[in-house]
């Protein structure tokens, strides 16, 4: 599966990066955001129920180790996240796909925290909202230094729906991981070797490989959050 690697190399660049940054004034205030988020959540009640009923059976299978179901569930969630973040990041459209990816990583790393007694959608939303607030906080500080831009509306109108490329290239962040973690991820996650095969090749125990993969992804999640733009 080195095709993924090849496909992704050199794609960390996004033309919209050249856009001038956005002022703090263009950002909604934290409390204002909270209110619109809650209002939108109510408005989307019905849509939300469909999301839940589609996701729940997949998610339960995924939690017990069904890889296909997990992939399907993550795709569903990614679509939903894109929709959700796009609406709350009107002023920061460049950040949408990055935040989708950051949130997916967070969901994966904390998937043990899901309690089967609660709706999956509530759990996903809890983490997504947390990630959104975290981004507001980070942006609020950094963007405060910049000048306002003209023609923001035209720019916004030009953003078409569908997946946009993330600005932060996760593939290049892999390179920053410690060697053992990087190798464990590359073998089991990119090249598609089984944990047993990876263990034989590296001479490290299977549980150690799993630990390295988990630590590597955790580290990656931290790197994504820190990545300056």
């Amino acid at each position: 599966m080195s095709s993924i690697i090849r496909m992704e190399q050199g794609k960390g660049y996004n033309a919209s990066r050249d856009q001038k940054p956005i002022t703090k004034e263009a950002l909604p205030t934290l409390s204002g955001c909270n209110q619109t988020i809650i209002a939108d959540e109510l408005k989307d009640d019905e849509q939300h129920r469909d999301f839940e009923s589609g996701l729940k059976p997949l998610w339960l299978r995924a939690q017990s180790g069904d890889e296909l179901a997990y992939r399907e569930a993550l795709r569903l969630i990614a679509g939903r996240l894109r929709h959700y973040f796009r609406r709350h990041l009107m002023n920061l459209p460049d950040d949408v796909e990055d935040l989708v990816q950051e949130t997916l990583l967070a969901l994966h790393l904390h998937r043990g925290s899901y309690d089967p007694a609660q709706p999956v959608s509530a759990w996903v939303l809890g983490i997504s909202r947390h990630k959104l607030m975290d981004l507001y906080r980070r942006r609020g500080r950094r963007e405060a230094l910049h000048e306002p831009i003209d023609g923001l509306e035209d720019y916004l109108a030009a953003v078409e729906p569908g997946e946009t490329l993330a600005n932060v290239d996760l593939r290049s962040l892999f390179e920053e991981l410690p060697k053992a973690q990087r190798i464990a991820i590359e073998m089991t996650k990119l090249e598609g070797l089984s944990v047993t095969q990876a263990s034989k090749l590296t001479g490290v125990s299977e549980s150690a490989i799993k630990v390295q993969v988990h630590r590597g992804l955790k580290r990656l999640a931290a790197l994504v959050r820190k990545e300056p733009k």
Binding site: Q63, R82, G112, D134, E163, R171, K189, L190, L217
Partner: protein, 211 residues
């Protein structure tokens, strides 16, 4: 990297979801905090004479603290996961607080009028909440640290709950050295000290629990 490729990476050989050790981590942190607050209380203030432990006073404090510990740790555990309901845990904590205040009020009413102020303020009312809070700080550090490894998404509330657990643990340590004997004193000043630790946690939560 495209999001689809990331999903591929995450899903491949993901295996079953790992355990989420909320109880284990929080309990370990609270136990560590209890040890610290007890040692500090005995070292800084000194133990009560053994005879005091044959009276009801220390046991009332301990009983109150244990009841609160059940509710506050349930609250902290629920706030360590995204979206878990906290209604029951909050109700439990609030009712223990209120019951203790009620018990304090009742004992005050049954106290002869001239002794009410001394029952309420004791000898140490102005040190008690501060001392209790100080003895709680190691526990607060440990519990916030433990929470960081979990998945709190409501950071203020989670910090407040962590502070309450720490406050209760601090109260347990302080009860080994605190000379006060009246129920009303415990109801007011212990509760205040625990709440103060909660507020410190609430202030720290959004700062240290981010992920």
């Amino acid at each position: 990297m495209k999001t689809d490729a990331l999903i591929e990476v995450l899903a491949r050989q993901a295996g079953p979801a790992p355990d989420f050790p909320v109880g284990r981590h929080l309990a370990a942190a609270a136990a560590l905090g209890l040890l610290a607050s007890s040692v500090l209380a005995l070292a800084l203030i000194g133990p009560l004479p053994a005879a005091v432990f044959y009276t009801a006073a220390p046991w009332i404090k301990l009983f109150y603290a244990i009841l609160l510990l059940v509710g506050t740790s349930a609250l902290a555990a629920r706030l360590s996961r995204p979206a878990s309901s906290t209604v029951m845990a909050r109700a439990a904590v609030t009712s223990v607080f209120l019951l203790m205040l009620l018990a304090g009020a009742v004992t005050l009413i049954t106290t002869p009028e001239g002794e009410r102020w001394s029952a309420l303020l004791g000898q140490t009312w102005w040190v008690c909440p501060w001392m209790l809070m100080m003895l709680s700080l190691p526990a607060l550090t440990a519990i916030l640290w433990a929470m960081r490894s979990l998945a709190p998404t409501r950071l203020k509330q989670a910090g407040f709950a962590a502070g309450l657990v720490a406050g209760v643990v601090g109260a347990m340590g302080y009860s080994l050295a605190c000379p006060e004997t009246s129920v009303a004193f415990v109801a007011v000043w212990y509760s205040l000290g625990i709440a103060m630790t909660g507020w410190v946690g609430q202030w720290l939560g959004p700062k240290v629990l981010r992920w």
